[in-house]
Subunit: 212 residues, 2 copies
């Protein structure tokens, strides 16, 4: 598909937040949402939301709000999560187990399909329905399955090396749980799960109470 214009990464970064809020509204049996209400839920201005969405097309009429199910479908198409992506998980430790049993991927476009580890004691064991496979077979298995997305839940010290191997195996998007910055080539995307970022965002607001 040829893209007629480049949309800023900041805007792309807000689309999943809109989608999650809209899906929550759907779960609340809601049908119509205004940009004002969406903005209030997300702490983003209504004008910003309208501007962001308008970059992808006309999704609502002035004054009538957005049809939630229509907008959910459209954003799912935009983000390409109107399909289910298979995901490879590397690391069968505590975090890997937690991810493999996590219910939050359902209906959001992702399912874990392959799990790898390098610990001989873990190989062959099952996490849910999936057998933990040898990281030595990662290249072959990921290629064979045509998987493009990986979650990295290994210790910080080994994360870069595993990322390099994932990229060789054809992975284009890495969700990194290791608290380390990854170097990746152009065309490969990395996102970080970093709980300290979220905690720091809240401690700002705790300040005034402590000073009382």
């Amino acid at each position: 598909m040829m893209q007629s214009k480049t949309i800023s990464d900041i805007v792309i970064g807000r689309m999943p937040l809109y989608l999650r809020a809209l899906q929550r509204m759907l779960n609340e049996q809601r049908q119509i949402a205004s940009s004002q209400e969406l903005g209030k839920r997300l702490g983003i201005s209504a004008a910003q939301i309208r501007k962001d969405l308008s970059q992808f097309g006309e999704f609502g009429k002035q004054g009538t709000g957005y049809h939630i199910d229509y907008l959910v479908n459209k954003i799912q198409e935009i983000l390409q999560v109107d399909r289910v992506w298979d995901v490879a998980l590397v690391g069968a430790g505590d975090m890997g187990h937690a991810l493999a049993s996590y219910q939050g991927f359902n209906h959001r476009g992702f399912q874990i399909k392959l799990i790898f580890d390098n610990d001989p004691e873990k190989l062959g064991s099952y996490i849910g329905d999936y057998k933990v496979m040898d990281i030595a077979d990662m290249n072959e298995e990921i290629h064979k399955a045509g998987i493009k997305i990986a979650m990295l839940a290994v210790p910080a010290a080994g994360a870069q090396e595993v990322a390099n191997r994932l990229i060789k195996a054809g992975i284009k998007a890495v969700l990194n749980y290791a608290p380390v910055n990854l170097k990746v080539p152009v065309g490969v995307y990395v996102q970080y799960i970093d709980p300290a970022i979220h905690l720091q965002r809240m401690t700002y607001y705790l300040k005034s109470e402590n000073d009382l």
Copy 2:
């Protein structure tokens, strides 16, 4: 402390990102950073970064860039992570174990101090240095320790009830790993760790390749 003006939550949300990027630069033995370079690392415009930082004071001189260690200290003060906050963890399952052994909180303002679960088989067991305590004692223990921050790593179905009990115990900030929206009173802050959001942000960019 009386605040002379209200700073938007969007700006506050970017401050931890600036801090992380600057701390990484420090680790790379860097001393000076320009807003351009910081912006490039973060995908945020240099003008936006200067505008955000200027809301808290004058941290750099026109044309000379920011002294990284000075700016790190200042942002740590602003976000109140120039201290170490004790954190209560609820849920001693896979995610709880992963969080308890996570190295990414070091030097970022947080340490887990109390761990709770309701599973009789887990009570009294140790995760690292900390004994898993009965969730029935949560109110008393959190009050006694004066803890204001909690991480919630329990199944979705029980998350709201546990959150209610945490708030009664004096918790003001909840980092929620359960894939469920929490209702909390004014003055209590919630952040969500949601891997699907990060994955969806990347699949947008994978689109064009699949369509080739």
